[in-house]
């Protein structure tokens, strides 16, 4: 069922159809590069198979959300952040600036941290999305989550989910980061309460504690 849905969306979201529905925008360019386009490689738009228009109404899609396949209906204009928060009930992901300048909405798309406010939900169709709710292994917290508690890397807590997703992503790529590397990994994450010093401490401690092992899957 879910695979069919994925194919369904992939076939229905075509370049021309998308452009017709959404206009030529930066977001449009992003979706064209995402591999969702039905047109074969090298073919021009004119030679592409007949387009199918999706939207402006709701479109069904599936994503692998925190390891489980989830079906969701969204309008093409819906961002991944909106889909997570309002359609899928996962409000751990926060929206702060809604334009990619604060990283509060950071989730992993196929393992790579992205701003979910700058990602269209349809762009995540058929792909793996990990949110703050999916970072722990059951009741066992991710080492970064544990360290954030122990080192008091939260104050109001509103930046925390995005901050943790950035720090945990860093440890997946680099099990033993330097302070400078932690700063780079969190340089897009805005915290108004000023938790940065503790975020650095916590992330470095989590790396030590993990002993170089790679972070959680996904």
């Amino acid at each position: 069922m879910s695979d069919e849905d994925e194919r369904d969306v992939k076939q229905r979201v075509t370049r021309r159809g998308f452009l017709k529905g959404a206009g030529l925008t930066a977001a449009g360019a992003a979706i064209l590069e995402s591999g969702l386009v039905g047109a074969s490689e090298g073919a021009s738009a004119a030679e592409a198979p007949a387009p199918v228009v999706v939207g402006p109404g709701r479109v069904a899609m599936t994503i692998r959300l925190n390891g489980a396949s989830r079906r969701v209906e969204v309008e093409p204009r819906t961002t991944l952040a909106e889909a997570l928060r309002f359609e899928l009930g996962l409000t751990g992901t926060k929206v702060v600036c809604d334009r990619g300048s604060c990283s509060a909405c950071t989730v992993w798309l196929d393992g790579t941290p992205v701003c979910s406010c700058m990602t269209l939900a349809l762009d995540a169709a058929g792909r793996g999305v990990t949110t703050i709710e999916g970072l722990a292994d059951g009741e066992t917290l991710h080492p970064v989550q544990e360290a954030f508690i122990e080192y008091d890397a939260t104050q109001c807590g509103f930046c925390t989910p995005g901050m943790i997703m950035s720090c945990a992503a860093l440890l997946r790529k680099n099990a033993d980061p330097t302070l400078e590397e932690v700063k780079t990994a969190t340089s897009g994450n805005l915290c108004r309460c000023g938790t940065y010093p503790k975020v650095f401490e916590a992330t470095l401690a989590a790396a030590r504690q993990s002993g170089g092992k790679k972070g959680a899957a996904e």
Partner: protein, 851 residues
Amino acid sequence: MAMQQEPHETKKATVAPASAPTGETPVPNAAKHPPNDAPNNASTPMRTVKLPAGIKGVEMTEVERQIPMDEPPVLPVNAELSVIGKRTPRIDGRLKVTGAARYTADVRLPGMLFARIVTSPHPHARVRSVDTSAAERHPNVRAVHVLDRILGNAELRDKSKELPARYPIVRFAGQPVAAVAAVTQADADEAARLIKIDYEPLPFVVDADRAKAKDAPLVFPGAADQAGTAGGGGGPRGVPQEGNVRGPVESGPRGQQPGDVEKGFAEADVTVEGEFRTQVQTHSALETHGVVVDWKPDGLTVYASTQGTASVRDEFAAIFNLKKSQVRVVTEFMGGGFGAKFGAGNFGVIAAHLSKKAGAPVRLMLDRKDEHLSVGNRPSSVQRLKIGAKRDGQLTAIHLQSYGTAGTGTGAGSGGPAQNMYQCPNIRTEESDVFTHAGPAAAFRAPGHPQGCFALEQVIDELAERLQMDPLALRDKIDESPARREERRIGAAKINWPRRRAPGADSGPIKRGVGVAQAVWYRLINLDSACEVRITRDASVELLSGVQDIGGGIRTALAQVVAEELGLKPKDIAVRIGDTSYPAGPASGGSMTTGSISPAARNAAWKVKQQMLQEVAVSLGTSADKLVMRDGQVFVYEEAQKVAEGNGRTSHAAPIRKLSFKQAAARLKTEQIAARASRADDYGGFLFKGGADFGFGIGIYGGVQFAEVAVDTETGIVKVERVVAVHDCGRPLNPLAVESQINGGVLQGISYALYENRILDRNTGLMVNPNLEQYKILGARETPQIEVHLIEEYLGRNSTDAGGIGEPSTIPTAAAIANAFYNATGVRVREIPMTPARVLAALDGKKGGAR
């Protein structure tokens, strides 16, 4: 002002003299309000106790005070306690790191609608007409509302000075005019664009210097005052006003009459003066202002991102003519406030109207642009400060003349530090507000004080240089605070002050320097602070209070206080807060939360403990007064002492009669016992009381910060490389969380000094950077090494002796950076933010000898 904003005019009026956070008159007139050492109610039975007093590591003594009989026993110093004073991870940490913590923005109710506000694109206009018909025809719209009243702006004293208007006059770009509620946010956004508003644009002025001119467009065509309902700004009423200039408000040391500064300057051997400018800063909490309002026939529930559940409830009740019991305000978690989130707000009132009209819950969260424009900011300041001193450093006169703009609000004073930091016989401050067509200011973390310190602490440093004294030695001479004296000593050692070089010592393009500055803040107490503590037969313990956690960690601090009293661990205590259906809690402002609510928590825990001990004493064959609770056990204290004295030779000693806490709870006569306590007056009384619910405590908060900066004289880029922050907050309850707040205060201070700036285009009246990339806030890359040192100061004033830290921690940072900048370059920057352009101009000025 950062303290609780009371919506009632009468209360506001009485609180106003102590409006420390406005910087107008931070300390009450001591002549009018003599220290009240007598108990409030002479008939209250009292006992005499000795309380720890002094600074740990400096001098600890005991102070004897009369306290009411029903107060708990004296709490020993932290070293003798098992939970309080220990670094304690937040009990709600797991909820925060897993995304499970529910903020207002996360609330979803069945049938909940989404709202969007339509705001004015004009900074000054009359609204001729509002046509909502097209929006109403939108298939998914459920309610439309057009505003007939605006909260937050100052209001004309004499309404007849302005032509009557059907709709509120627009006085700033971003002022709400109408709103819609619809099925989805996208529907609401669409429908909002269908509302047609016909404006008659009027002349405007957004620049404070221009607004002072006689011929400037008027923001109000007559004298105006700002009500205390707005959750910010405000200040004394009835101040003289001419054109857009409201003031000056004149004051003297500690809120007394202004001194004779002319005489003081005549006596001075040295005088120093300068003009200092600070910008408008927006709060930019990550969670925007917002609510979910569920209007039901029997009352309304408001999920609010607020710093004051009680003040929001009171304001909703007043506006909608409801009983307070008909309004429930819930704030489980909130994403930052910094002083701007006390009232119902225009957005809250709008959401309530929409919910009432639609018969469904309505969610209204502001977007980032509206957050910058319409819900508060730190006013700007232009301060002319002159200080005179004798050759030995004794100050003879401090004279501050300042103005600033709080937009359409009031409260741009910055005189607090000048009035309250140093000993000086002649202090005079003259503070004026300048109205501009810009969003009203709100309390912002130590209102007036970062501004005031930016001027004061630089002039004090200049004075030291003129007197050829070390800046710390001069402060030792003129500053009477024992806490700050110790803080200077500790900080100087940590930063290695003696290695500080002469100004501009580096020969290369990058110049490094060290600077110091200090804070002053006040012991403000909200007496409407109550807690209930419950113990249930299954040994579960709950604390209930309306107080909300704005990020400081009060949830955990309260758990520590209760756990200490009951001999349990913080995680054993379920802390339920942020709900007006619980006992009234204080607003979180003025650094008041901990000092207001923690004594109530301890007193409630102690009372319920007495009840529990009474009930279990019989089964242990003893009396309650022989029992103690410690380490999860209830036992006969004397027997345990004997065993301890017996040095473990317990074979022939009598066994200790004891129960585990769990066993003891199981023997309760009823399923649950509970006790409730309110914040009592300080032991020995307050400096003065503002009405029944507000106390101005004896003693002050200090704080001293040292900054090391590197100035790139080729690019003008300033980097803060290291900060040493030494602070006091009475008895620290949770040093781990206090440290976090100090980090936050320092980082906001650096951000204020170097980056943040609300920029209004004077030609259009619009904010050009209403986002989070062009409104630059410090990030990870700009975060320096921060070393926090906390001193323990005991004042013996209540059952916990704990205080706040939010505000003192951000007050001196910008000034310390400015003094470090001078030490690095030999040039003073008298204006913030220290942008590269400004820095280069200042450095050029030096070359040309202009400064």
